[in-house]
């Protein structure tokens, strides 16, 4: 290893990145665009479900009940309609996902102590939203029942009535249970998996395509110097990119960052070693920029999206699939980032994930030093 040759390779690579508009685009724009797209585009929250109501009674009691829907952030009472066909039409047309019908004898039955049946119609085409809407609706109805029951008991002179059981919930680490808070650190991991591999997948293939490789391998430069010279600038760029993503996560998406910055940087450096080596590997094997970039997108995007725990929780997956997730390096980085952001975990808390990441960094890093041959074929 000759330090001057390594420095010459790295400097040349930096100049090329700086002067190539496409490289600049990948380096600067791609992470930010992906972070915004995924940060906003992927949301598992069901909020503001559009609701139509058909209040057949129009009494004080029925309006009290419907007010509960209005005040909940999960519902958005769009309209009150005057007949049943109009409600059916709204569900058919998709302008509302829930239709609620209050019977004409609502207050009469309440007054006489009889059970009131409220009709709720759900659009089941999105089963996830429908089941969430159903449980929210039931919760609203139950809360209102409990309130009515207490009032009824008080009216009968039972001064201090308490509900027999209540759950006092507190969600740690993500107090408002907002999916964005868990998604955004995951997006950072995903963006770096894709961008990191993509960045280096072009470097070696470009030299083969443009004919510069033949001249390069006729010099005394060693394969290790070529590899390190090509990867080191991208490690620096990758660290900057990840930091920009993290800053955007905190300031733009308001995700808390509770961990230590060095835990973040350590895990990021390990992960960059993994993805940059992988991209380099593809680049050496594929020899054309198009093939290398396509392989790297397929090999990183889908596993990072589906098998890292980003969309589907790993512990909910079938056992075989859970086993497969262990060979997806993004899985470890994703877990570490979520914990660093939300829990403020230490390396010690997360040692299995750090171990997995370090193992992949070592294997792929070593493989990358061996793959390149200073020969034409």
């Amino acid at each position: 290893m000759n330090w001057n040759r390594l420095r010459a390779m790295a400097r040349k690579e930096m100049i090329q990145i700086r002067r190539d508009a496409r490289s600049i685009g990948i380096v600067i724009a791609m992470p930010i665009v992906m972070l915004l797209a995924f940060g906003y585009g992927v949301s598992f929250d069901t909020k503001h479900i559009p609701v139509y109501v058909y209040d057949r009674e129009q009494s004080q009691a029925s309006r009290d009940f419907l007010k509960r829907f209005q005040s909940s952030r999960y519902f958005n009472v769009v309209r009150s309609v005057g007949n049943y066909p109009e409600l059916v039409h709204a569900v058919d047309a998709g302008t509302c996902q829930i239709g609620i019908v209050i019977p004409p004898d609502f207050s009469a039955r309440l007054g006489s102590g009889q059970a009131v049946r409220i009709q709720a119609i759900f659009d089941g085409t999105d089963s996830n939203s429908a089941s969430l809407g159903m449980s929210y609706t039931e919760a609203v109805a139950q809360a209102h029942s409990a309130k009515l029951q207490l009032e009824w008991l008080r009216a009968r002179g039972q001064g201090s009535v308490r509900a027999p059981l209540s759950v006092d919930s507190r969600t740690w680490f993500n107090e408002n249970l907002e999916s964005m808070v868990t998604i955004v650190p995951g997006v950072v991991a995903m963006v770096m998996a894709v961008v990191g591999t993509f960045l280096t997948s072009l470097t070696v293939a470009r030299e083969w395509e443009r004919g510069t490789m033949e001249q390069l391998i006729s010099t005394p430069v060693t394969p290790l110097e070529i590899m390190l010279g090509k990867l080191l600038p991208y490690v620096a760029i990758g660290l900057i990119d990840t930091s920009v993503c993290a800053i955007m996560a905190v300031w733009w998406f308001e995700v808390p960052f509770r961990g230590h910055i060095w835990v973040f940087l350590l895990s990021t450096t390990l992960f960059l070693t993994v993805v940059l080596s992988l991209g380099y590997f593809f680049s050496v094997v594929a020899k054309t920029q198009l093939a290398a970039s396509q392989i790297s997108l397929i090999a990183t995007f889908l596993p990072a999206f589906l098998l890292s725990g980003f969309v589907y929780p790993i512990d909910q997956m079938p056992a075989v699939v859970q086993g497969i997730t262990h060979i997806v390096p993004a899985r470890y980085y994703m877990a570490i980032l979520r914990n660093v952001f939300l829990k403020g975990s230490s390396v010690f808390n997360m040692w299995p994930d750090f171990f997995g990441l370090a193992l992949f960094a070592a294997i792929l890093g070593l493989a990358a030093t061996r793959i390149f041959r200073k020969k034409l074929t």
């Binding site: 010459a8 040349k12 004919g211 001249q215 390069l216 034409l376």
Partner: protein
């Protein structure tokens, strides 16, 4: 001459690709301070030979020694002493002239002061001083080739390998190119060049004619021309094919070859043949601009040599 006086030695060098034997048991030696030319048509094996000598392609069989290094056992050791200029422009278009020079100087471990003096000299000789901060991608074809040469020479090589270095280069740049090469020869550098330009082949001390991976002849250009049995007659005409058909049966013509401006013939007695040819062509009513004896070129020698080989092995 002792063994050390040869800086390039090939012995039975062979390389096959799936569909073709590109280089077939090639052997020759090039002495220190010599400029040696490889001549032959496309597919003759010139580039494959150059690549094996540059250590960027592994031979299948045979051996090659360059600058004292065995190219199969220690190609990396030899690279410090070789300058190789591939046929295709191999520099970085996003880097400026100076940045490319610095990059190659650093790879060869050239100290800064040395790099600066050498780069200044070479750029001066190449007529490129005012282009130092221009991007390599914005240079003309001739400038690119000269920059390739400057980068290849910024360290002090013992052996220079040039694969069709002046292909597509303007005459002024070609002259600069050769001037630089001759200066280096005076300093004891060995140059192996392949070329498609016959006037360039004639500037070499010795040339080897390659055909289908094999060497047909290897000698000085003068001796090779002396080997030619007879003289070359050029028939300048727009439509060479009917002329070729017409005269193909005539006695005393050993070789016929269609060239850019007509037909080249190798004949025993030009004094007798030229009037005969003129008469025969005129009688047939074919139009030609001239029928004259010309100085033989390497290409004529080449075709003649290939014909002879065919005659020897029917």
């Amino acid at each position: 001459m002792g063994a050390d006086d040869f800086t390039i030695e090939l012995d039975g060098l062979t390389k096959s690709f799936p569909d073709v034997r590109a280089v077939d048991r090639l052997s020759f030696k090039v002495a220190r301070g010599e400029i040696f030319g490889l001549v032959g048509p496309d597919g003759a094996g010139k580039t494959t030979t150059m690549r094996m000598l540059a250590g960027v392609l592994a031979p299948d069989a045979g051996s090659a020694r360059v600058a004292g290094y065995d190219m199969t056992r220690d190609p990396e050791g030899a690279k410090q002493h070789i300058s190789y200029m591939p046929q295709r422009f191999g520099l970085y278009e996003e880097l400026t002239v100076d940045e490319n020079i610095r990059f190659y100087a650093d790879l060869f471990g050239v100290a800064r002061a040395e790099r600066e003096t050498r780069a200044a000299e070479l750029l001066q000789a190449a007529g490129m001083v005012e282009f130092r901060s221009r991007l390599a991608g914005k240079l003309s074809g001739g400038m690119k080739q000269k920059l390739g040469l400057v980068c290849a020479l910024v360290h002090t090589p013992e052996v220079i390998l040039l694969d069709e270095p002046t292909n597509g280069v303007d005459p002024v740049s070609r002259r600069d190119f050769w001037r630089i090469l001759y200066t280096l020869l005076d300093q004891g550098v060995t140059i192996l060049t392949s070329t498609a330009y016959l006037d360039e082949a004639e500037r070499c001390h010795r040339v080897a004619l390659l055909h289908e991976g094999r060497m047909l002849f290897c000698d000085t250009p003068e001796n090779l021309k002396g080997n030619l049995d007879g003289a070359v007659v050029s028939v300048v005409c727009a439509e060479p094919r009917p002329v070729k058909e017409l005269i193909s049966g005539m006695e005393g013509i050993s070789t016929m070859m269609i060239v850019g401006d007509g037909l080249h013939l190798v004949v025993r007695e030009p004094g007798r043949m030229i009037p005969e040819l003129r008469a025969r062509i005129a009688a047939a009513g074919l139009e030609v601009d001239s029928v004259e004896e010309v100085a033989p070129s390497i290409e004529d020698l080449f075709v003649e040599a290939v014909q002879k080989k065919k005659g020897e092995k029917p």
